[in-house]
C-alpha cells in the first residue's frame, strides 16, 4: 500500500511540475467555458424581423410599434403569407417573424386571451433564443399596459417555434457538451501520454523489473488523473452556474457519480492507446484525432445528431460521450433522477467494462 | 605555414552568469585533423555550435573558412560539413534519396549530384543497396555513408561530433581511413571523440576543461609534457581537476 501511495505521489509531482500539463488540465476547461459564456451573453442589436399581421387591429399595431421602437429589432417589412416568411428565412434575410392571428384584439378583449406566434431561425440557436426572449418581454410589457386600463384579467400567450433546431441547443446545452469534451480529452490524453513517457524515458523498464505489480503501475497512474478530473469537473460546474447562470436542476451527487463513470471510461481508453503506442507524439495524435473529432461530431452538442445520415447516427452510438451528454442534460437541465437515465448509464458501464478488459488484457508485463 | 581555416580569438559564450566557453583561442590549419576533446560539460558542444554558426558568441572573434562568425553564418554553413552520432541521415529514405537530398540542400546541381553519388557509392561499395532504406543498413555502413554525405559538397571544414561512438573496432578504423582520405584532399577535420586512441590519430588536439582550452598540442608533445604513456593518462591528468560537471 505504501508503494502505491508513493507512486501516486510521484504522479502528482509530474503533473504539478509540468506547466504544459497544468495548462492542459485547468486552462483548457476554464478557457472553453468562459469563451462559450461570453459568446453567449452578447446582446443582439438591430436584428431583422418581419411582422405578419393577419389581424391589423389596435393591439397588433401597438405591439408592432413597441417592437419597432426597441433597438434590438429592425422591422424589414410586413409579409402576409407563411410561405413568404419561409422563403425569407431560407434566404437568411430575417431572424425572427412575429405572427398575429386574425381577430387578435377581439380575442384579447373578449376572450381575455390571445396568441402571438414567434418564429425564430434557430440554426444559430443562441441568437434564436435570445430574440424570442426579447420579443416575449416586449409583448409582456404591452400586456401589463392593457391590464392597468382594464379591470378584467387578460393574457397574451406567445407560441414560440424554433426553425431548423427545434430543441434549441444553446447555452444550457453547451455546458454538458464541454464537460464531456474536457473530461474525455484530459483523461485520455493525460493517461496515455504519461504512460508512454515512461516508456520513452526508459523508466518503464525499471518499473517492470521491480517487484511492483504492473497493474498497480497503471492504477496509480489513473488515480491522480481521476482526482484531477473531478476537480476539473467542479471548476466547470462552478463556472457555468455562476458565470453562465446555468442551473443544476437535478442531483449533484448523481452528476458526479455519472461523471466518474465517464472518467473511468476515458482512463481505460487512455490505457488502451498507451499500450499500442511507443512515442508521446503518437499517443497525443491518437488521442486528439481519435477522440476530439468524434466527441465534437457525434455527441450532438454541436451538430444535431437527428439530422445526420443513418450510418453516422449508428457510429455516434459508439461514442461514450454521446451517452454521457444525454445523461448530463437529463440531470442538469431536466432535473431527472436515475430512473430516467439508467439505460444510458448501463450502456456507458458496458463500454467501460469492455475497454477495461481489453486494455488490461493487452497490457504487457514485458517489453516489445 | 598552411592556411588558417579556423581562427578563434577569445571566443566566449555566457548563459546568464554561467560561462560555458571562456575566451577560447586557437587556430586550425587547412587539411589538419584537429581533435577537440574535453570532459562532459567542459563546453565542447557550446564551442562547436559557435564555430558552425549555430549559436552567436557573447564576445570574441572567429573566422571560419574565411567568414566572420557573427555576420556571415550563411556562408559558413555552405563551406562546412557536419556529422554527429545522433543525427546524420534519414532512416526512412533510401541511400540514393539521402544523397540527393543532402546534395540538393547544399545547392549542388542535379548533374553534380548524379556524378558525385556514383563515385561515392562506388567508393563505399554500396552498389547493391542504393535503393534500400538507410534504416536497414548496418551501423558501420550508416556511419561511413553519413560521413561521405557530409563531405559531398566538398566543404573546407567538416565537423564530426563523436562520429564513432558505439561502432565496432573494425568499422571504427575503416571510418578513420575515410577521415584520412578527406584530410589528404585538403578538407580540414574537426573531430570530438571519447576514444583516446582516436585522439592519437589527430595532428593536434585541444583539451577543454571547465570552459577553457587547457592544453593544445600534438599528441606526442602532450604526452611528453605530462610525462604520460598514453593519451588516456593525459586526459585524466587534465580532466581530473575539473570543477564543473554538467552536460
Amino acid at each position: 500500500m505504501k508503494q502505491f501511495l508513493t507512486f501516486v505521489r510521484k504522479e502528482f509531482y509530474h503533473v504539478f511540475r509540468d506547466s504544459k500539463t497544468m495548462l492542459m488540465l485547468f486552462g483548457l476547461p476554464i478557457a472553453q467555458i468562459t469563451l462559450f459564456g461570453f459568446a453567449l451573453t452578447n446582446e443582439i442589436k438591430d436584428s431583422k424581423i418581419v411582422i405578419c399581421d393577419y389581424a391589423k387591429d389596435e393591439a397588433s399595431q401597438q405591439i408592432t410599434y413597441k417592437l419597432a421602437a426597441s433597438n434590438n429589432f429592425s422591422i424589414e417589412e410586413s409579409l402576409l403569407s407563411h410561405q413568404q416568411i419561409e422563403e425569407a428565412f431560407k434566404a437568411g434575410k430575417i431572424k425572427l417573424a412575429v405572427v398575429f392571428p386574425v381577430n387578435f384584439t377581439y380575442d384579447l378583449l373578449h376572450l381575455n386571451t390571445a396568441q402571438v406566434q414567434l418564429i425564430a431561425d434557430a440554426a444559430d440557436p443562441n441568437t434564436g433564443s435570445t430574440l424570442t426572449t426579447y420579443a416575449t418581454s416586449i409583448i409582456r410589457d404591452y400586456q401589463q399596459d392593457v391590464l392597468q386600463s382594464k379591470s378584467l384579467p387578460l393574457s397574451i400567450t406567445t407560441e414560440i417555434r424554433m426553425l431548423y433546431n427545434p430543441e434549441l441547443k444553446g447555452v444550457t446545452n453547451f455546458v454538458p457538451g464541454v464537460m464531456a469534451l474536457v473530461l474525455m480529452l484530459v483523461c485520455v490524453l493525460m493517461t496515455s501520454v504519461s504512460i508512454v513517457k515512461e516508456k520513452e524515458m526508459g523508466t518503464m523498464e525499471v518499473l517492470l523489473v521491480s517487484p511492483f505489480n504492473p497493474f498497480l503501475v497503471i492504477l496509480s497512474k489513473a488515480v491522480p488523473y481521476f482526482a484531477l478530473s473531478l476537480i476539473n469537473l467542479s471548476v466547470i460546474l462552478l463556472l457555468s452556474v455562476f458565470l453562465l447562470d446555468m442551473p443544476i436542476n437535478g442531483s449533484v451527487v448523481l452528476l458526479f457519480a455519472e461523471s466518474s463513470l465517464l472518467i473511468v471510461t476515458s482512463l481505460a481508453l487512455g490505457l488502451l492507446i498507451s499500450n499500442s503506442t511507443a512515442s508521446q507524439q503518437t499517443a497525443m495524435l491518437l488521442s486528439l484525432m481519435g477522440l476530439l473529432v468524434p466527441t465534437m461530431l457525434f455527441t450532438g452538442f454541436m451538430f444535431p445528431l437527428e439530422n445526420m445520415p443513418m450510418p453516422l447516427q449508428v457510429i455516434a452510438n459508439l461514442v461514450p460521450a454521446k451517452w454521457y451528454y444525454i445523461i448530463v442534460k437529463s440531470i442538469m437541465i431536466k432535473g431527472l433522477g436515475f430512473s430516467s437515465i439508467w439505460k444510458e448509464t448501463l450502456i456507458l458501464v458496458g463500454m467501460t467494462t469492455f475497454l477495461l478488459v481489453v486494455s488490461f488484457k493487452k497490457f504487457k508485463i514485458r517489453l516489445g | 605555414m598552411a592556411e588558417i581555416v579556423i581562427k578563434a580569438e577569445k571566443l566566449t559564450k555566457r548563459f546568464g552568469d554561467f560561462i560555458a566557453a571562456n575566451e577560447i583561442t586557437f587556430d586550425v590549419y587547412a587539411g589538419e585533423i584537429f581533435g577537440f576533446l574535453g570532459a562532459n560539460g567542459a563546453g565542447k558542444t557550446t564551442a562547436m555550435r559557435m564555430l558552425c554558426g549555430l549559436s552567436t558568441p557573447s564576445s570574441g572573434k572567429a573566422i571560419i573558412a574565411g567568414f566572420d562568425i557573427y555576420k556571415q553564418t550563411e556562408s559558413i554553413k555552405k563551406n562546412i560539413g557536419y556529422m554527429s552520432q545522433k543525427f546524420s541521415l534519414y532512416e526512412d529514405l533510401t541511400v540514393i534519396e539521402n544523397i540527393t537530398f543532402f546534395g540538393g540542400i547544399y545547392g549542388l546541381s542535379d548533374k553534380e549530384i548524379k556524378e558525385k553519388s556514383e563515385i561515392l557509392i562506388q567508393q563505399l561499395g554500396l552498389q547493391g543497396v542504393t535503393k534500400k532504406l538507410v534504416g536497414s543498413l548496418p551501423l558501420g555502413w550508416k556511419q561511413k555513408l553519413s560521413f561521405s554525405v557530409a563531405v559531398l559538397h566538398e566543404p573546407k571544414i567538416v565537423f564530426l561530433d563523436e562520429p564513432t561512438g558505439g561502432v565496432d573496432p573494425v568499422t571504427r578504423r575503416q571510418f578513420w581511413d575515410l577521415i584520412y582520405e578527406a584530410s589528404d584532399k585538403g578538407i580540414t577535420i574537426f573531430v570530438t571523440t571519447h576514444y583516446m586512441d582516436e585522439a592519437e590519430y589527430c595532428n593536434r588536439i585541444s583539451m577543454m576543461v571547465d570552459g577553457v582550452v587547457k592544453a593544445l598540442d600534438t599528441p606526442s608533445n602532450l604526452k611528453q609534457e605530462f610525462a604520460a604513456g598514453t593519451m588516456d593518462e593525459v586526459f585524466f591528468e587534465l580532466a581530473r581537476g575539473a570543477k564543473r560537471k554538467g552536460d
Binding site: - | A39, N40, V170, D177, Y201
Partner: protein, 312 residues
C-alpha cells in the same frame, strides 16, 4: 555456483528477419564481475532484457539465481537490480525523490540499505534537491546506480553504464563496481569500450549476436594466435597505406600512436625487409617492435576470423 546462465538463447525481431541474439550460451559465477563487450547492435541489450525478464527469448533457456527467466519472472524481479542503457530516472524529480521512489517501489527504505550505497550517494548528496534532469552525465550515472542498488539486489545488471560518460567518470564508476563486487554482489555489465574489458574478471566478446570468446581478459589476450608488432613512423596515414601493400602483412590496424600489424612470416629477415621497404617509401624514424595485444586487437582478430569463416 552460477548466478546467471544462458543456454542457447536466441532472439529475433521483425518476424525473424533480424537475429539479435544467436544461440548465446554463457554463465556468470556468483560474486563475479562479468563483462559483455561489443559494439552497438551486437545484442547486448537484448541479452540484458531477457535476463531481467523484460523480453521473452525465441529459443533456449536462461536463469538468474537459479530461477527461470520465463516461468519465475516475478521472483527474479524481486532479486535483481537493473540499470538500463539510458539512465532511467525521472528527470522532473529531485535526486532524493528519485531514490526514495525506487526504494519504496522495491518495498524498502533508503535507511535500511544506506550502507550499500553510502559511498556512491555521498558524492551526489550535495545535490539532493536538484532535479535529475539537471545533473551531469556522471552524476546521473551515479544516481541511477544508487537506484538500482537500493533494494540490495543479489545480481546487478548494468547495460552500458559508461556510454556517453567521460573518462574520469568512467574510471570512478569502475572503482565503485569493484567495491560492490567485494560486497558479494554478482555484477554483469556491458560496454562498447574495449579498454574497459580488463577491469572485469571474465568477459564475453560479442558481435552480431554471436559470442566470439568467453574467458578472463588475460586468457583472451594469451589466445591471440600470433606475434603482434607495433610500428610507427613520422607519416602515420601514409604508413598505413604502404603497410597494406606489403606482401607479408596479414593484418594492419591503426592503434593510437602505433599501427598494429601481424605478419605471415615473423622471421627477423622479413622484419628487416619490411623496414627496408618502408624506407624506400620515404618513411622516417621507423620504429618496429613486438607488443602485447589489447582486447581490441583480439576482438578485431576474432571478428575477422568469424567473417572469414562465414564467407567460406
Amino acid at each position: 555456483m552460477h548466478d546467471v546462465v544462458l543456454d542457447k538463447i536466441r532472439k529475433t525481431y521483425n518476424k525473424n528477419s533480424l537475429v539479435a541474439v544467436d544461440n548465446v550460451s554463457l554463465s556468470v559465477n556468483k560474486g563475479e564481475l562479468f563483462g559483455l563487450i561489443g559494439p552497438d547492435g551486437a545484442g547486448k541489450t537484448s541479452i540484458f532484457r531477457i535476463l531481467t525478464t523484460l523480453l521473452l527469448p525465441d529459443g533456449g533457456n536462461a536463469s538468474v539465481s537459479g530461477y527461470d527467466v520465463v516461468k519465475d519472472y516475478k521472483i527474479i524481479r524481486n532479486h535483481v537490480g537493473y540499470m538500463p542503457g539510458r539512465f532511467s530516472l525521472y528527470q522532473d524529480l529531485s535526486v532524493e525523490e528519485n531514490l526514495n521512489f525506487f526504494a519504496t517501489l522495491f518495498g524498502t527504505t533508503i535507511k535500511e540499505n544506506y550502507d550499500l550505497i553510502k559511498e556512491i550517494y555521498v558524492q551526489i548528496e550535495p545535490f539532493k534537491t536538484r532535479r535529475a534532469g539537471k545533473l551531469s552525465g556522471g552524476m546521473k550515472q551515479k544516481l541511477a546506480l544508487c537506484c538500482a542498488l537500493i533494494h540490495r539486489p543479489t545480481v546487478l545488471f548494468l547495460d552500458e553504464p559508461t556510454t556517453g560518460v567521460d573518462t574520469v567518470s568512467r574510471k570512478e564508476f569502475w572503482e565503485m563496481l569493484k567495491r560492490l563486487k567485494s560486497q558479494g554482489i554478482t555484477i554483469m555489465v556491458s560496454t562498447p569500450y574495449m579498454d574497459e574489458a580488463t577491469l572485469c574478471e571474465r568477459i564475453a566478446l560479442i558481435q552480431s549476436g554471436k559470442i566470439l570468446s568467453i574467458n578472463t581478459p588475460a586468457n583472451v589476450i594469451a589466445q591471440f594466435p600470433q606475434n603482434l608488432f607495433a610500428i610507427k613512423s613520422t607519416n602515420m596515414s601514409g604508413l598505413l597505406k604502404d603497410l597494406r601493400d606489403f606482401g607479408n602483412i596479414e593484418s594492419c590496424n591503426a592503434f593510437g600512436e602505433y599501427h598494429h600489424i601481424t605478419l605471415s612470416d615473423e622471421s627477423d629477415a622479413t622484419q628487416h625487409e619490411l623496414k627496408t621497404y618502408l624506407e624506400s617509401k620515404q618513411h622516417e624514424n621507423i620504429v618496429l617492435q613486438s607488443t602485447t595485444p589489447t582486447i581490441e586487437d583480439c576482438f578485431i582478430q576474432l571478428m575477422n576470423n568469424q567473417d572469414g569463416g562465414n564467407s567460406n
